[in-house]
């Protein structure tokens, strides 16, 4: 009890202030670092890529470069950059999230997608099904998802980039299957969402719901996310099913010029994104289950893991590019809202 008698509140306040000054004085950074604001499933990819790029930059310029990472839902990350998160580069799930930054700030030029090859998408992915070991519900293709008793896990397209790709992949299959009959496509999509017990806000959250909470029979997931779950949680527990038709998901990247000009990092930021297209960058993308633009740069055994399937692009006349697809499917009062609205509204 002696301690309590000698410690007056005032002494505590003093000690706290001194401690704060010591902590605050600790040097945190030496040179202008690079901040990559990315979405959820790229954590493992950029952890490796940042090491490779730092080595490349050191070799090229002799400078040490420190790269910082931020991850979250793609839409939420774009919102943070708009609200002032000082990203040097953004590597997000879809073009419309970077479009949002370009539209609401003057930090990204309107023609950002033309600044890098392959409309600024150095790697692609697709949407696959993750099912439980042995595929007990015999799920092979999109029509199996709406059989009675099948529960589907997919996040909310309003907040998750991955969920938007899921939605459009299902739409692409239905459009092909029903010969473009809009009523039938809508009926299928509506039935699909009736099989979803819970809409998580992000792709990683949906994966956790499926794997750790054990909810649902099938998870609609990024191909790289499905492979990661398979590796981290045991190949004996899950299987990947590739549907007959899916979508070519193009995660896009851009330099946030308004910020890099202020930080003096434009050159290193541009090189950071360009290096993603190099043999090293492409091989790392393939190793982390992203489909590289140049398969010849990647290890053959990595490429062999990607099954061939029909992939529809967002620029297909069916969707007409991101601005149109975003407004038509996911805007307020758009198709997703209409389809999932409670009856009578």
């Amino acid at each position: 009890m002696r301690v309590f008698r000698t410690l007056t509140p005032l002494a505590l306040v003093r000690a706290a202030l001194v401690g704060g000054a010591v902590l605050a004085a600790t040097p945190v950074l030496a040179q202008a670092p690079l901040l990559n604001v990315s979405y959820d499933p790229t954590r493992e990819l950029y952890r490796d890529y940042n090491l490779a790029f730092a080595a490349h930059w050191k070799e090229k310029t002799g400078q040490d470069i420190e790269i910082r990472q931020s991850h979250g839902g793609s839409g939420a990350q774009a919102r943070a950059v708009i609200d002032g998160l000082e990203a040097d580069v953004v590597t997000l799930a879809l073009a419309s999230d970077i479009d949002a930054i370009a539209k609401r700030t003057d930090k990204v030029p309107a023609d950002w997608q033309a600044r890098l090859p392959d409309h600024s998408a150095p790697y692609t992915s697709t949407i696959v099904f993750l099912v439980r070991a042995g595929n007990p519900k015999a799920i092979k293709d999109w029509d199996d998802l709406i059989r009675p008793g099948v529960e589907v896990i997919t996040p909310n397209p309003k907040t998750s980039g991955g969920a938007r790709w899921n939605h459009l992949a299902a739409w692409a299959w239905a459009a092909q299957t029903f010969g473009g009959d809009e009523d039938k496509i809508r009926a299928y999509i509506a039935e699909l969402y009736r099989h979803v017990p819970v809409l998580d806000t992000g792709a990683r959250g949906a994966t956790t719901t499926f794997t750790k909470r054990g909810l649902g029979d099938v998870l609609l997931a990024w191909e790289n996310e499905a492979f990661l779950a398979l590796n981290e949680l045991g190949p004996d527990q899950y299987e990947i099913v590739v549907p007959s038709i899916s979508i070519l998901a193009e995660p896009t990247v851009a330099v946030v010029e308004g910020n890099t000009e202020k930080h003096g990092t434009t050159e290193v930021a541009t090189e950071y994104l360009t290096y993603l297209y190099s043999p090293v960058g492409q091989a790392l993308a393939a190793r982390h289950y992203y489909r590289p633009r140049h398969p010849d740069f990647a290890a053959p055994q990595d490429i062999a893991r990607f099954p061939a399937t029909t992939l529809i692009t967002i620029d297909d006349p069916l969707f007409g590019g991101w601005p149109e697809a975003q407004a038509r499917h996911f805007g307020d009062g758009g198709l997703f809202d209409q389809i999932t609205a409670p009856p009578g509204q």
């Binding site: 509140p9 990472q69 002032g84």
Partner: protein
């Protein structure tokens, strides 16, 4: 309790004052203070113990069990990881900055409310309580709305190259907002109870305002102040929602311990997630022990002394 009232079986534990109210009727015969039968009591006690086990103890044990799932080396490695160390350092820094400021504010607010009369006093008390009733996520968002790039103060901050949200100042502000009521709420009832008599005596004996504050007012509330600071600190270190909104989630820089726990868990890194969580649990337990010590040793000084 001065009106006649029959001993009500519905009231399980009549206080000592109730027992004293009927001395004549119960004289000479010992009567147990509760009227439940032994089986009823056993069922109630078992229910309470089971509830505590399932709701409090089991999760607490599982935190440590998961953290030590890979043995002690795995636990140590998880805590000495640079990102984990940075999260620990940031959490401590945020607490060290926000708790003293809130202690000062809480003391000043309680002093003003308890010792003075002024118009708008009840409104002031309501405002202090506001963070209790507002969702922490909203608390974070309002700081983005005010200090963000498109916020009210955004253009000014950008022109002067000041970063508030998605950096340390924003995290400290959000934490302070959430923890504002803790110190003030602890001090107001006590200081109101103590009244202004001691201060008036000191002033009449020739003490200056500051002397009165340092020698009379502050010593009267020091244990309650420490108690409030303790609760404030526990909440400051554990805050998730408000900080998540303003953090920017930059790994190794703007992730506090609770954010780091979520990140590690989502990366399938369960051991590391629970290792960091176990530190927060230890903090909670230490707070509990200190709180109990304070209550046990200085219970009188912590509460307003009613009826004396």
């Amino acid at each position: 309790m001065d009106h006649p009232m029959p001993p009500a079986p519905a009231s399980p534990t009549p206080g000592p004052s109730a027992a004293r109210a009927f001395p004549s009727r119960r004289r000479g015969r010992w009567h147990p203070p509760t009227t439940e039968t032994a089986p009823t009591r056993a069922v109630l006690i078992a229910g309470a113990v089971l509830f505590l086990l399932l709701v409090l103890l089991a999760p607490l044990i599982s935190v440590f069990a998961e953290a030590l799932a890979d043995g002690l080396p795995g636990y140590v490695a998880a805590l000495t990881d640079p990102e984990a160390l940075s999260a620990i350092r940031l959490t401590l820094l945020v607490a060290v900055l926000s708790v003293p400021l809130n202690a000062l504010f809480g003391l000043a607010a309680a002093w003003a409310i308890a010792k003075f009369e002024f118009p708008g006093k009840s409104l002031f008390i309501t405002v202090i309580d506001l963070p209790f009733s507002i969702s922490p996520v909203i608390a974070g968002l309002v700081y983005v709305l005010v200090y963000g790039a498109h916020g009210v103060l955004g253009p000014f901050l950008q022109a002067h190259d000041l970063q508030v949200v998605f950096a340390l100042p924003g995290i400290v502000l959000a934490t302070m907002f959430v923890t504002v009521p803790f110190v003030a709420r602890e001090l107001i009832p006590l200081m109101q109870e103590q009244g202004t008599g001691d201060e008036e005596a000191a002033l009449s004996l020739g003490a200056s305002g500051w002397q009165t504050f340092w020698r009379v007012t502050l010593p009267n509330v020091k244990w309650a102040l420490l108690y409030g600071v303790l609760l404030c600190n526990a909440r400051a270190m554990g805050e998730f929602g408000a900080v998540a909104v303003v953090s920017g989630r930059i790994r190794g820089f703007t992730n506090t311990m609770p954010l780091q726990v979520e990140i590690l868990y989502n990366e399938y890194n369960t051991v590391a997630a629970f290792a960091v969580a176990s530190l927060l649990a230890v903090l909670a337990l230490a707070t509990l022990v200190l709180k109990t010590l304070l209550e046990w040793r200085y219970g009188d000084a912590l509460m307003a002394r009613r009826g004396h």
